[in-house]
Assembly symmetry: C2
Homo-oligomer: 214 residues x 2
Amino acid sequence: MKMQELLKTALNWRYAVKKFDPQKKISAGDWALLKESLRLTPSSYGLQPWKFIVVENPELRKQLREVSWNQSQVTDCSHYVVMSFKEKLDVEFIRKNMDKIAQVRGIPVETLEGFEKAIVSDLVNGPRSLGIEAWAQRQVYIAMGFLLETAALLEVDSTPMEGLDPAAYDTLLNLKGSGWKTVAAVALGYRHPEDPFLKNTKVRFDENEIFELR
Amino acid sequence: MKMQELLKTALNWRYAVKKFDPQKKISAGDWALLKESLRLTPSSYGLQPWKFIVVENPELRKQLREVSWNQSQVTDCSHYVVMSFKEKLDVEFIRKNMDKIAQVRGIPVETLEGFEKAIVSDLVNGPRSLGIEAWAQRQVYIAMGFLLETAALLEVDSTPMEGLDPAAYDTLLNLKGSGWKTVAAVALGYRHPEDPFLKNTKVRFDENEIFELR
């Protein structure tokens, strides 16, 4: 019962902050947990086709802001996380995943051969390989969901950012040729008391407009 | 401090259930909150390009299972949610959103003209219109993240399902021609004590493998 209330409060408290308080910083403990919620996010086959780039350098933040419709969240938030995805899902990356499973579970990697083959024939050689960029991006968005909900529960504010030039980000972050590409970003920190968006009532479709029964 | 612990526990407790206990059902209160966490999920421009189809009919669940690699979660979970996205982002849907904002905030819809035009020129007529299906699917995956994390915090088990035939789902669910298309599903309920996946150690890359600083 308690958790239901906590969740309800957090989900309603959350909104996409327009103006952050540049003075307020996320505590080390909260930040550790925000990172952990990204790391523990589930993904298809558990492949984790993501990398999260945390931008601290103020000069770099300024440059990123210029290719993010000049939105102030980029420079004024406490922690700015660029969400990137694995551009090409190749056999090497899947092998890296198998090695990790074998290492963590203390089993020979050979026992995972069937699983590995199934993934390769589905995502690397199968019909789903054609939309693999979109597939990887979707996995990153599960992580975005985890990050935003965790933040709300910790009373850390956030703004999911899609209004940015991904190619320009890749250049500024030196991602070109790395195998990773920008898809979005999340600004984290604390709402400014004068954020004009603070007073806006949350707008959502009613339950009966988005749920259907079968 | 308390919330940090609750989150840490929930995120580690969660895993993709392979075998649900078909006898155990989610309570009305928890289900209401799970729906609410979908409804309150943020999306780009707040457009909510999603519809969630809750499949109760056992016969239909059986048919869906047949086009879901015969995975038992489809028939054995308590609540089965098909996640669908808006296939075509048209001017009508954006207008529907504007009407909702005007209604909820009690303002004339005309005051939203600038906002509406900005969205149309970005997503309907702009370069981003080309990848609009993938865009809508990504928004749905934020909702998936919210659903999975909320479930974990409520100690409700879940399995995100990508191993399914979206086109066959669209047919079985009568979505053809509706403007909505299946992208994935989430099974919700309670783990069976004999779920073979229950004993698996969670496998994730280490922090330094997925985070980079700039």
